[in-house]
């Protein structure tokens, strides 16, 4: 029965039951349902399912192939881990929203046509915003509202593009597209918003750190990676994406270094990781697409792990500001170890998952001869280690002792982190586990002396740089602050512009209305003078003057006639 439901829809439907379940059953339900979904996916044969025609369009709600499967697997795994992490939460809204959101993400990667994709695309936006609002308070509310507006806008662009595409090609199929007309540009823009392209990215750093402790873990997995999938499906080999992706890897890490909210540091680093995947999609060779998909798979695990460890700190200490933390390894030793595993994985240390995934993309970039892009990616790799690999664990768990003492994270949180950490190491140690589910055949050996020693040199010398800068007190301290990013434009700039221009516009409008009124009054006055009861045209003219005028006219006529 489970297998006959489209992937994703199972979770969405099952989520509706959560409010009616008693507490114990609900806990089991949130973990068992995604696990059942994963099992159903494993036994599902590749192909298209449930296709139907409607209003002359061919709908394919479920398309199963290797590219959609790898994202489907990891989305289910992320849903299971996130659910375990959230087991202690009593707020039903978050459980319903979390499971529906996961279901929407899963549905999106199996959508075979653009309209189905749009439906899941918007469902992701609407369900996920509750994970932000559930935090409560004005800041979360406003941040969630900005998030929702951006996400819905992405959906509207996608639908507009899909309609134009259907108009021009007669098909709504979601396959590889060539950039060239308005339709495809709109679709790319829609994907680009959810993928946090430069200048379209701020919803991510704005909203994710404002969500609940458990909500951020859900959020980190689905939306952006569904967008990576959509790019890999729709625009592989689009050269522009190589440069967009390279920019994405580089610029967020500067922000990550000076950001104080450690969950926001992770949001910037998430943005940087997406850049690697976008570069892979842009290169578009089988090896690069393998790199993008494999990186997404590994990334979801270690990024969730990092967000979970920082969530546990926020849950126990009540703050996640680097300036107020430090020395927590004494209180939370297990969380510290799990965080370090996540940090080693995202930094692509050999024997951790990031290494075997990122190596594919880096090698693909090198094989295609993009030297500058390769250098940027290496810079970004060193930077990732610097802010995610060292800064996050260092300022939270080590640095100076903040004097804060708390309990270790709850058991369910530790279990979720333990599973994620185990998978991060397992994938790193046994690369065939990941390579066998990649979309294309893999002929690649990550563990060669050149790769391993080169990567170790890059990382250890980055660590050395950090150590030197800290030791000689050059490293910028964590400060309570807000750093301006592109969202300044719509949070301050445009409102301020409107506030300053508005009085001028209002005065001009008032002036215009006044002038109009004055003009009308003069005009109406003139008409009244001409045609009113006392007006010139309304007078009864005496017979004498009429005779005179007739004589004048006749005289004029005669004169003209003889001329």
């Amino acid at each position: 029965m489970i297998a006959s439901l489209p992937p994703g829809l199972l979770l969405i439907v099952a989520a509706l039951a959560i409010p009616f379940l008693p507490d114990v059953l609900r806990r089991a339900w949130t973990v068992v349902v995604p696990a059942a979904g994963l099992w159903a996916l494993i036994v599902l044969e590749p192909g298209s399912y449930l296709a139907f025609a409607w209003f002359g369009a061919e709908f394919v709600p479920v398309r199963v192939d290797k590219l959609s499967l790898i994202f489907g697997y990891i989305f289910h795994i992320a849903a299971i881990i996130s659910a375990i992490y959230a087991l202690h939460v009593r707020d039903t809204v978050q459980h319903v929203a979390g499971m529906m959101y996961a279901g929407s993400g899963i549905g999106a990667v199996f959508a075979g046509d653009l309209v189905t994709l749009f439906v899941y695309w918007e469902a992701m936006a609407i369900t996920s915003v509750f994970l932000i609002w559930a935090r409560g308070g004005e800041t979360a509310y406003r941040s969630g509202m900005r998030y929702l507006i951006v996400q819905i806008a992405s959906g509207v662009l996608l639908l507009s593009g899909a309609i134009l595409q259907a108009e021009q090609t007669g098909s709504i199929a979601f396959d590889k597209m060539a950039l060239g007309n308005l339709a495809t540009w709109l679709i790319l823009l829609a994907f680009g918003i959810k993928c946090a392209f430069p200048f379209l990215h701020n919803w991510l750093q704005d909203a994710y750190p404002e969500a609940t402790v458990t909500g951020t873990v859900f959020l980190s997995a689905f939306t952006t990676k569904a967008a990576v999938y959509a790019l890999a499906r729709g625009f592989p080999g689009t050269e522009m994406l190589i440069y967009v992706g390279a920019a994405m890897t580089a610029f967020p890490i500067f922000y990550a270094v000076i950001e104080n909210d450690l969950r926001r540091v992770l949001a910037y680093s998430l943005n940087n990781q997406l850049g690697f995947m976008v570069v892979g999609v842009g290169i578009g060779t089988p090896m690069a697409l393998n790199g993008a998909a494999g990186h997404a798979f590994a990334h979801i695990l270690y990024k969730a792990l990092l967000f979970m460890s920082m969530g546990a700190v926020l849950y126990r200490v009540g703050t996640i500001k680097g300036s107020e933390l430090g020395g927590l390894y004494k209180s939370m030793p297990f969380t510290t170890v799990f965080c370090i595993v996540g940090a080693a994985s995202i930094s692509a240390f050999p024997l951790f998952s990031g290494f075997i995934a990122k190596a594919l993309t880096l090698s693909a970039v090198a094989y295609e001869g993009y030297v500058v892009v390769w250098l940027i990616l290496m810079f970004a790799s060193a930077g990732v280690f610097h802010h995610s690999g060292i800064k996050i664990p260092y300022f939270a768990f080590f640095a100076h002792d903040s004097g804060k003492r708390c309990k270790e994270a709850p058991l369910n949180m530790l279990a979720a982190m333990g599973i994620a950490a185990f998978l991060c190491i397992a994938l790193g140690v046994w690369s065939p586990a990941l390579y066998s589910i990649l979309p294309y055949e893999v002929d690649y050996e990550p563990y060669t002396p050149t790769h391993v020693i080169g990567q170790l040199q890059l990382l250890m010398f980055s660590a050395l740089a950090f150590a030197v800068l800290i030791r000689y007190r050059i490293y910028p301290p964590e400060l309570k602050s807000t750093n301006l990013d592109f969202d300044w434009l719509y949070r301050k700039g445009i409102p301020a512009l409107i506030a300053s221009v508005w009085p001028v516009l209002w005065a001009a409008w008032q002036g215009f209305l006044g002038a109009l009124q004055g003009g009308l009054r003069t005009g109406i006055g003139a008409i009244v003078r001409l045609t009113g009861p006392e007006g010139t045209l309304a007078r009864t003219w005496p017979l004498g003057s009429t005779t005179l005028w007739v004589a004048v006219l006749l005289g004029g006529f005669l004169l003209i006639y003889y001329l």
Binding site: F379, H400, F461
Partner: protein
């Protein structure tokens, strides 16, 4: 770096002693030196050519990180605002 606020009477951890932190620092220096020297002992399969030069990954990583931090420090002058900047 702010001073440690370890409560009085709590047991001292290994990392609480600054002499041990210094040991960690020199351990990192040692590991880096070792990794640099390893370059003499194996044949590199460089993918781009220049990445096979001696110690490339090492010095590139070091320079990148120092640049990253110094640049971010400068950026802070431009970008840093009070914590409640957007709430006002």
């Amino acid at each position: 770096m702010a001073e440690s606020k370890r409560p009085e009477g709590e047991r001292e951890y290994w990392l609480d002693r600054s002499a041990n932190v210094t040991k960690v620092f020199w351990a990192v220096v040692g590991v880096c030196a070792l990794l640099g020297l390893l370059d003499f002992f194996y044949h590199k399969h460089a993918e781009l050519g220049f990445d096979g030069s001696f110690g490339f990954h090492g010095w590139y990583g070091f320079v990148c990180c120092v640049f990253l931090v110094l640049a971010a420090k400068e950026l802070r002058k431009l970008l840093k605002r009070d914590e409640d900047y957007y709430d006002r």
